[in-house]
């Protein structure tokens, strides 16, 4: 877009030189181009175009076209677009009116109080017109009306009334309903560092999981009971036990590798075809599997396959002394499985018991661990 404000005329008529001579006595003309005997284009300042138009008309020369370029013509054109101007005006008026009112309420920081209750209270008690809203009044009214509110701040941001609320703490939340400190596992207490509360165990005591270690209160000099948080660091030797058994004689059952298959085709659970091989085995175990023969649901044919595996038994005799290391390792692995990740291994040992041809190996790992998890 040209910045210079220019009007371009296209005139058509005879004796244009005379017209141009008259025009140029009062105005400066630019880019005068005669394209044919009767057609001429010329430019002039936008601010002169109306006077020039008048003079041209008085000479009875036809104006074919007048076009304008530059900033001022564009502005004038916009201003003369009444529809657009009306729309801008209406929008401006609407914006002005609706901008005077609060249209949205935002409540922040509530946990127990109902936001809708607060909003309906504010809507009911106060005007939504911004000029009539006193935020201090709203704050005071909310504190007076809602006993659970300890602090409230109110601001108007745009067309939103923002209420930032801090609720009062309940006595139980303030002073706490403290739980006692309980043992999380079995063990023998080795070290106690009491922070607060009343101890229920001493070093050397054997405790079971769930036993109370520290009570959440203390007794002052006057014998008054005062609730406090039970807090202590209690270490204990914790035992992790694993077992393994060994039988001097036992019967082992195993598959020989022989098998028979029986097949059956089912439709809606009803057998419509079957193929059954004879099972000659004395001992066997079975496995059954179902297979869909069709993918549609109209005729859901299914194949039921039953496999018969032949079994054989063997009596195995072994001495414990031959497999002692292996059995102890099994018991140790069992104990290690039960261990927690933390803690330090203090000791480990195992015991062997023989009862009627069966040998029991108990493997014990002793670790020093914290007996209780501290409340956060």
């Amino acid at each position: 877009m040209k910045l210079k404000n220019v009007s371009k005329f296209h005139i058509c008529g005879l004796n244009q030189e005379k017209l141009l001579n008259e025009l140029c006595t009062n105005f400066t003309l630019f880019e005068i181009e005669r394209v044919s005997k009767n057609d001429t284009f010329f430019e002039c300042s936008y601010f002169d175009h109306k006077k020039i138009q008048k003079i041209i008309k008085s000479h009875r020369v036809k104006i074919e076209s007048v076009s304008h370029s530059g900033v001022v013509p564009k502005v004038m054109q916009t201003l003369s677009s009444y529809g657009l101007m009306l729309a801008i005006l209406v929008c401006g008026v609407l914006y002005f009116f609706q901008n005077q009112y609060v249209v949205q309420y935002q409540v922040l920081g509530t946990e127990n109080l109902s936001k809708s209750e607060i909003v309906s209270f504010v809507k009911g008690e106060f005007s939504s017109k911004k000029s009539e809203i006193d935020t201090t009044q709203i704050e005071n009214a909310l504190i007076d009306h809602f006993a659970r509110i300890s602090f409230v701040s109110c601001i108007i941001k745009g067309q939103t009334l923002v209420l930032n609320i801090k609720e009062k703490l309940l006595p139980t939340q303030m002073y706490g309903e403290f739980p006692p400190l309980m043992a999380q596992k079995d063990g023998k207490v080795t070290k106690i560092e009491l922070v607060s509360g009343t101890l229920r165990v001493k070093v050397g005591d054997i405790v079971r999981k769930g036993d109370v270690l520290v009570e959440p209160y203390t007794l002052d000099a006057s014998g008054q009971l005062k609730k406090v948080e039970a807090k202590a660091e209690i270490l204990a030797e914790v035992y992790f036990e694993g077992t393994a058994e060994h039988y001097e004689t036992f019967v082992q059952t195993f598959r020989t590798g022989e098998k028979r298959v029986q097949s059956e085709v089912l439709l809606f659970g009803l057998s419509i075809y079957n193929f059954q091989q004879e099972v000659p085995f004395q001992r066997y175990e079975t496995e059954t599997e179902f297979q869909n023969l069709s993918k549609n649901l109209f005729l859901p044919f299914k194949m039921k396959k039953t496999m018969f595996y032949e079994l054989a038994q063997e009596t195995i005799v072994s001495k414990f002394e031959d497999v002692e290391d292996e059995t102890v390792a099994k018991a140790k692995a069992d104990a290690e499985q039960k261990m927690d990740s933390g803690g330090e291994v203090v000791d480990e040992f195992y015991t062997v018991r023989h009862i009627g041809g069966v040998t029991f190996v108990n493997y014990c790992i002793v670790m020093e661990e914290s007996l209780c998890e501290q409340p956060s």
């Binding site: 141009l20 003309l29 005669r34």
Partner: protein, 87 residues
Amino acid sequence: MFNFLNEIKQNLKIPQGLDLNGFNLINIAGNLLYVEGHLGLVTLSKQQISFKVRKGVIIVDGEDMILNELSDTTLKICGKIRKVEQI
């Protein structure tokens, strides 16, 4: 205000009795003709532009000529200027 043409008129040794006040005409590279003191257009076309001056008419012949500017006393012609003639 400094006027280049007036300076020339004053500084050149011009014979006595010559009238130098009618009009001024400057042809720049054959593509632009600047005229001071015209008294009105006579003809206007792409090939010929003529205008009145004191004691005569100036005829400018050329190609694709346009009247770049036209005011009360001055005019500028742009285009290929072949000939400038006073009659």
